[in-house]
C-alpha cells in the first residue's frame, strides 16, 4: 500500500488536502476543509462538498439569505455540469460525424462541405457550451463561499442547531 501511495504521489495523483483540524469551533459554526476540493464541515462532519454543493442549503437553512445563496450555488453547479458534459458530447459527436462525411466519399464535394460545416459548427458550439459550463461551476463555488460566510456571520440568530 505504501508503494502505491508513493507511486501516486510521484505521478502527482495523490489527493491534496488541508491538514489542520479546528478544536475550538463552536458546534454551529461551518468550518472549511479541503480534500481534493472544498468541503464544508460542522462538528468534524462533512455537510457539503464542492462537486455538487448538495447539503449546503440544509446546513445554512436557518439564515434565509444564506439558504438562497446556497440553493443558487447548488443549481449553478448542476447546470454547469450538464453544460460541460453536453458540450463535450457535442464536440465528440461533431468530430465523428464530420470525419465520416468528409472521408466517406472523397470526390463528393457536397458531403465534404457538409462534413466541414458539421465539424466546425459542432466543435465551436461544444466549446462554447463547455466554457459556459465551466464558468457557471466557478460561479457556483464563489456563491457557496458567500453562503457559508453569511451563515457564520448570522448563525447567532439560529435556535436549535441549524
Amino acid at each position: 500500500m505504501r508503494w502505491l501511495a508513493l507511486m501516486a504521489a510521484l505521478a502527482g495523483c495523490a489527493t491534496v488536502g488541508s491538514s489542520f483540524r479546528r478544536t475550538h469551533a463552536d458546534r454551529n459554526e461551518l468550518v472549511w476543509a479541503y480534500h481534493g476540493g472544498l468541503l464544508v464541515t460542522r462538528g468534524g462532519q462533512v455537510v457539503a462538498a464542492q462537486d455538487t454543493w448538495d447539503g449546503l442549503p440544509v446546513a445554512v437553512s436557518c439564515v434565509p439569505r444564506a439558504r438562497d445563496q446556497a440553493e443558487t450555488a447548488q443549481s449553478r453547479k448542476r447546470r454547469g455540469k450538464v453544460l460541460v458534459w453536453s458540450g463535450i458530447g457535442l464536440m465528440v459527436a461533431a468530430a465523428v460525424a464530420g470525419s465520416v462525411l468528409i472521408y466517406k466519399d472523397r470526390h463528393n464535394l457536397d458531403d465534404i462541405g457538409l462534413g466541414l460545416l458539421t465539424l466546425t459548427g459542432g466543435l465551436s458550439g461544444g466549446l462554447t457550451m463547455t466554457l459556459t459550463g465551466s464558468f457557471m461551476r466557478s460561479r457556483a463555488d464563489v456563491t457557496a463561499i458567500d453562503a457559508v460566510n453569511m451563515f457564520n456571520d448570522d448563525r447567532a440568530t439560529c435556535t436549535g442547531g441549524t
Binding site: 491534496v16 488536502g17 488541508s18 489542520f20 479546528r22 469551533a25 479541503y34 472544498l38 460566510n149
Partner: protein, 136 residues
C-alpha cells in the same frame, strides 16, 4: 473575423473577473474565505486580502497561520507560472501536435498547484480562527 475573436476574448476576460465573492463577512477578528478572479484570499475585519498579501498581516498574531498563507501564496504563484507555460504548449500544439500531451501534463500540474494553494489557505484560516490569541 478578428473582431469576433476579440469580442470572445473580451467576454472570457469579463467572465473571469466576475468569479469573485461578493459578500463581505463582518464578524470581527475572524478570518473568512474569499476569492477574487480565481485567486484565493481571506477577509479580516471587513477587508479582503489576496493570499499573497495575507502573510504580512497574519504574522502579527499567528506565526503558523502566516506560514500557511506564505505557502499558499507560493503555490498560487507557481500555479500561475505553470498555467502560462501550459497555455504556450497548448497553443503550439496546433503546429506540433505532440505538444498537446505536454500541455495536458502541465495543465494537470497547474491544477495540482492551485489545489495545494487552496488547501494551505484553508489551513491558514483554521489555524488563525482556532488561536484564542487572535480572537482578541
Amino acid at each position: 473575423m478578428h473582431r469576433e475573436v476579440l469580442l470572445a476574448a473580451f467576454a472570457v476576460a469579463v467572465a473571469a473577473c466576475s468569479v469573485e465573492t461578493k459578500y463581505v463577512p463582518r464578524t470581527p477578528h475572524r478570518l473568512a474565505l474569499g476569492m477574487v478572479r480565481g485567486e484565493p484570499g481571506v477577509y479580516l475585519d471587513g477587508v479582503f486580502m489576496k493570499v499573497s498579501d495575507a502573510p504580512f498581516v497574519l504574522a502579527g498574531c499567528s506565526a503558523t497561520a502566516a506560514a500557511d498563507a506564505e505557502r499558499a501564496a507560493t503555490e498560487y504563484g507557481s500555479a500561475k507560472t505553470w498555467s502560462s507555460i501550459s497555455g504556450v504548449a497548448w497553443s503550439l500544439g496546433w503546429l506540433v501536435p505532440p505538444l498537446f500531451g505536454l500541455g495536458a501534463y502541465l495543465s494537470a500540474r497547474t491544477d495540482r498547484k492551485a489545489q495545494q494553494s487552496y488547501a494551505s489557505t484553508i489551513d491558514a484560516i483554521n489555524r488563525f480562527n482556532d488561536d484564542p490569541g487572535c480572537a482578541r
